[in-house]
Symmetry: D2
Subunit: 305 residues, 4 copies
């Protein structure tokens, strides 16, 4: 279906906001340019890092349109259409297609917990109804169910299902997918957690959908390149830096949301966009913000704000 596989670093773009239903349009433009300039291979909108579920449909539609226009075909755009309502997923995908996106991404419905058989039926119907190629999204911590390897193998046969992003951090699972599907020229495998991009690409994955690439796109692109080149010394060197980010920018406060708050706060400190977070989360306050600033400075970044 799709002519060539997407390979490389595909940041799950945050959604710059000024309020629960107000987009930070200038921030969105700046962040888009920041990512393109950073050399990323594609962008993924409205994923978990994009707070998609917390946004109104209106705002999601506006955001897709704005980013696609700004990107203007320079790199491929993927759009998350994960939803509990089948029809809303299809509609958002239709909008994404009109705006110029090249694919959509869908985690399982996340209120009810479908069985593996129900997942097969659901994804088959969805892929049939979608105007764009579909990437599966394994995200068990947020949607309660795992896309088991047998399920993924079955779904990979559908001509309109072209890949999977795994955010489980369970490498036995990911290695099992690589074993079954790593050689399939029509199916891509991406890893979510940026701490794992190096090793996954070394072992055959097609790339990383890494949240930290919102902040430091070049760093993750460098990791991808080093891993493709089988340069272990360089991979280990970059890995240390990625882990420094992971253990300093994403671990402030006692929140399940430390990662998301950290990424948005960092982008705000770097002058890229607003750090407003939609409910149920709230942005960092002064003290936590100071710790993120410290973490960024330790990483050698210039805080402009």
């Amino acid at each position: 279906m799709q002519p060539t596989k997407l390979r490389g670093i595909i940041p799950p773009m945050i959604t710059p906001l000024k309020g629960d239903d107000e987009l930070d349009r200038e921030g969105t433009v700046r962040l888009t340019e920041h990512l393109v300039a950073g050399g990323v291979h594609a962008i993924f909108l409205l994923g978990t890092t994009g707070e998609a579920q917390s946004l109104t449909y209106r705002l999601r539609y506006e955001f897709v349109e704005l980013v696609c226009r700004q990107v203007a075909g320079r790199i491929p755009v993927l759009v998350g259409v994960t939803d509990t309502a089948f029809i809303e997923s299809v509609r958002l995908a239709e909008h994404a297609a009109k705006c110029g996106a090249v694919g959509v991404v869908a985690a399982p419905p996340y209120y009810f917990a479908p069985s593996q058989q129900e997942l097969i039926e659901y994804y088959t119907a969805l892929a049939d109804a979608l105007p764009l190629p579909l990437y599966l999204y394994n995200m068990p911590s947020h949607v309660k169910v795992f896309l088991e390897p047998a399920t993924v193998k079955t779904l990979a046969n559908h001509p309109n299902i072209v890949g999977l992003k795994d955010s489980s951090a369970n490498m036995t699972y990911f290695q099992t997918l690589l074993y079954h599907l790593g050689d399939n020229p029509d199916f891509s495998l991406y890893v979510g957690p940026e701490e794992l991009t190096g090793e996954c690409v070394l072992l055959g994955a097609d790339g990383g959908v890494n949240g930290g690439a919102n902040i430091f796109p070049e760093l993750y692109v460098a990791m991808y390149d080093a891993a493709c080149a089988h340069d272990i010394t360089r991979v280990r060197e970059i890995q240390r830096r990625i882990m420094q980010i992971s253990t300093s920018v994403y671990t402030v406060g006692k929140y399940g949301s430390s990662y998301l708050k950290g990424v948005k706060c960092a982008l705000s400190l770097l002058g890229v966009c607003d750090d407003y977070l939609s409910y149920p989360y709230r942005k960092f306050r002064t003290e936590e913000r100071a710790r993120i600033r410290q973490a960024l400075e330790a990483l050698g970044a210039n805080c402009n704000v």
Copy 2:
């Protein structure tokens, strides 16, 4: 705020469908009349049993309007506004208020898993923004987080938060709420699982939000009355019948969704409405339908279809 507490049986009404985005309007009217005739004390639309999360907003709005018009003030109507997007909850509540609903019900956001402190901030902001009194909805199996007793105690002080429905089936939890809030004249406590309505009302709960009351409304009303009258012999007698339903109508097939499929299938067999289920679920097929018919007949019900 609200003049008197709602007490009694409040069925979480199923949403009769003909397709993923098509309401069964005739079935909706028939089911509404079935419930009113059965003597229930109120109706709760768009809960878990109502498949709210699987429906488009358009259909949810249509359903609220249709049921409110049909009920025409004969009994109070509550509307579920549980959503991952704050603004969508508020908008649906505004629509519900216009249609004549008397209260709304909200479980925690269910994609991200908020901390207890974040839940307090979320619900406080929501209750401030809503045009109708708010009932909390504890549903940990579907939303991942528990509304802990200390959180509920704090939220119960908000003038616009007037009660809680607990679907956890964890009675230590419910007894803890009864201990802290059972004597509060401005806060109601309802139990979700119908298997527990008898004992909960005996111990001080205000009623039951019981799915089986879609099928046999009188039975659950009888349980409520028996428990209010402290008639243990009668409570035990009705309990056997409720357990017969629970262990026959809700246990067909190896699905996490057996309960929902069973209720819709039963209503279809009784000639009340269509049994279409929205994704990610699909309705029972012939063999399972035959087992539900058998279960209903063992209960003495007349299958018209």
Copy 3:
């Protein structure tokens, strides 16, 4: 097999300790007399509240022998033989039989997580090998697996399996067991959490295995009697007192072990026995101990120490 059912309050006796491998023998004697004087209907040794898993086999054997000798047949004694090693369960049961215990209690093995079919095979083999009647023990929070209703129904047919204690607090589960087995004259159903004894006995359970009965045995016996007499007013009155204990004595500190620490600390303050806790837990320190003292005084208890 057993002539008459055990009915009533069966405290899961704490194990008074002076060190990780040293029994508080005087405290054990005093606690035994405290329980017998309090009118309890039986005693259950080496359950979760008894810290069985944290004790050496040597100490477990010593404790069973000491309590059985002290009880001297005045009330029945049950002994927990829950173990990950089948043979160790059988040996402890043989020791219990020699000491005069009338039954043993076993939760599923708790390191590996057996399937329901494996549980049936395990319990069947165990019941075959045991010299005493066996009570099943459902304790999913500690052993990871649920004894599903269908499994319990199957096992209840074994002539040497005579009952079940449920500590899940899941009342839909317990009501399902009551429905299937409540009328079986050869199978008893007990509830673990003391917050639920009133309602469970009202609905047909045979009694409660309630940790708080270590401290206030008369109170839980009074609840059992009130529930047997269907005296709802009295049940509610006692329920308030049980909930006062539950929400003050068991909730000090941020520990999963607050309940166990609270019970042992209370018994120490009442002058009954030492409050030493075996690893991985440690007893309360001064500040927390002061809060337990306060809670006991609010309950009208005399702290002797």
Copy 4:
């Protein structure tokens, strides 16, 4: 404390049995020789794969003695002392020391679920009391708690705590440990799941505690060597073979125990030892055994039995 780090492949040896309390002594000798001949760098007795928790203490002691005598110092022996009872862990460690083992391994207590602070106190006391260096064992699926990175960092300062084996398969966790402790010359990091040994060693881990090395010790040693040599082409090649084992030998039957049953069945088919499994598990029957034979033959192994 210990002069040099253990590095390489350390099979978690299965425990050859003839019955629940009967060791297969001849099988134990053959398996020991099979492992030594296969070039493994050390052996780990009485881990999860060794069914330690299901065995009597008597048998555990016998097994440690027999293997240590058979190994006769040719390679280092580690002994699992994971237990819910502190004192039993210490005693088994004393026995292991007498028999010539060089270290012990302990997962957290697995009946109660300790907090991180309680884990720090528990492991500190244990390491103080043990006659041998202690390796931590992270095994959340079986013991319910995670050894969080901050906890491990604290414990790594104890002079008698010298390493950690991680069986979580969560690579974000393992990468975090590598980041914090990978350069610590006195602390070793091993990975449990054999599917991850290649990438973990590439990124800096000290080795793998891989169950499959019971069957094919040379294969896992080859993976370790390839990863140490940074030979990605060879790593990927061996990885395919390891995944073939993982997806054929460990996936027969619908059991949580498929892995353990598969390993024992394979060793029996290869003529190494008996495939008896202790409760709560039972060995494969004829049909499943045939599928394991098939899987082994597809791997080119000679089934002697």
